[in-house]
Amino acid sequence: MVAVDSQGPQDSAVRMFRRERSIPLRGSAAALCNNLSVLQLPSRNLTHFGVVHGPSAQLVSAAPEGVPLAQRQLHAKEGAGVSPPLITQVHWCVLPFRVLLVLTSHRGIQMYESDGSVMVYWHALDSGDASPGTWSGRILVFDIPAKGPNIVLSEELAGHQTPVTDIATEPAQGQDCVADMVTADDSGLLCVWRSGPEFKLLTRIPGFGVPCPSVQLWHGTVAAGYGDGQVRLYEAGTGTLHVQISAHARAICALDLAPEVGKLLSAAEDTFVHIWKLSRSPESGYTEVEHCHGECVPDTQVCGARFCDPSGSSFAVTGYDLAEILRFSSV
């Protein structure tokens, strides 16, 4: 059965988006994948944004209308060498009792309190290999206390042979869905895990020759974005492919999820951002996807995109060489 997207009035609330005021950045965004992290703090009427520039990462907090309130720049820890290390990712990790800001570079992992004011932990990575990128594919699991700097490396997971690109987690959904973490790598391989005192590898979903830079997990469904512009949805427990979308004309750089409503955001180097609605068919129980909205950011190689609120009615975008965070919200 073939159906054409009708552009009808269904879901009109999130169908139309308008450009909102941009948030200026001190430095342009680097051409990395997943290069935008957002921490929503609705109780404080604040949103934090994190963008990697290169040797520094920039944190900006903004009021709901996008008015920038505070700014901070963080740098990777220096070491021996000619040039300062480049930051590879900045990300807020929301844990049950606290929020940590994690900064990674090829030298190691730095963890800060959520506003970036205090570094609470530093983990150096073995620099056995001088050239960046030939990473081991190890996944490091840290035990985080509710307060303070007593962070401990508790486990190292082996599952990937090529550098890990992204990690996604969700709270365990009850007895039916045991999978609560998925990791992706440069070869396109996905590993699905169950967390616990010891992590258990449940399924491996093989790649097909292109990297998987971004992955999300929603109600036992893995959503993966690939270097050939495809978005694929798999059942986490079994690894079965349920949906295949030829979503973009260039490599996907970011995926994000609005878990409350099952909305998926995909952004790629083709200048487009798309929003999709995930659902389960009541008759068959299979995962279905519907296209909600597409936005073109002209002449911009998008490198990061995130929803800015849990209902998925607003999102933000960063682009390579762009010194601002673009914001969109639904009318």
Partner: protein, 345 residues
Amino acid sequence: MFNRKFMEELFKPQELYSKKALRTVYDRLAHASIMRLNQASMDKLYDLMTMAFKHQVLLCPRPKDVLLVTFNHLDAIKGFIQDSPAILHQVEEIFRQLTEVKCFFLLCLWQTYGGLSAGEFQLIRQTLLTFFQDLHIRVSLFLKDKVQNSNGRFVLPVSGPVPWGTEVPGLIRMFDSKGKEVKKVEFKHGGNYVTAPKEGSFELYGDRVLKLGTNMYSMNRPVETHMSGASKNLAPRTQENIAPNPLAKEELNFLARLMGGMEIKKPSGPEPGFRLNLFTTDEEEEQAALTRPEELSYEVINIQATQDQQRNEELARIMGELEVTDQPRQSASKGDDLLAMMDGL
């Protein structure tokens, strides 16, 4: 430039050059020939090269296509030599050596990069893009061809063929647990893409298909190389405030190895070469040098061998291979005597 030793150094695994280091190497390459350029013209030539290469890397449909761009560069160079029978006749031996050496270079390229994965090419491309970050110099040829906007940013078209291996966007396919397709829905993706006709060749010879990296001056048109208003309307450029310490021994060691202690020939008496001016008049060239904005100055590192250095045989051979005319052999030591080698930093 295709000297074997030089190429071997190039192909060693190493970090991305700093802007200063690359500009220094570029300077030396240009002056290793009989060509002479003033500072202003040199700056302009370098800007042109940088922006052209940025355009090529940015617009590569797949990260792996960066390799095809390089193949296009080399194919064009081969063409320059082959198409000049007059030069061919006069410098047959040189041509033979150059062909041999060029094949070696292509082979190195092919062997080093031919087997890399898509993920590794993605990393290479992203790393190259960090070098070009925040460069928005306007090039009149690009502006005229609507390849670049007036704000210095490149146009990213949303039409044309998709990369090889990518499907035209617009289709959602849903499957059951046995892998059977149960539903197919189209959606409006917003672009105007078509299927890729064929894949470019990664062999030593072949149709690269990709046009990026081919000679941008090959069309018959009045070529203007001046950069209109390069210093005006420049997007605020982030200063490279973490410029590598020019006295960092590691980087200087690399530069010295790379150039084999080449000397810039200071022509005295009748000049053997020619001077290239990329501006319309000498006065304009001088003016450009004086008014070049601070943040665009390249601070080239000068490395010159002093007369009483001892060079080892390896370096002497490099010098001999690089130069067309006979030169009296000198010797110098490399390595830790770098600071002694530097004149006027």
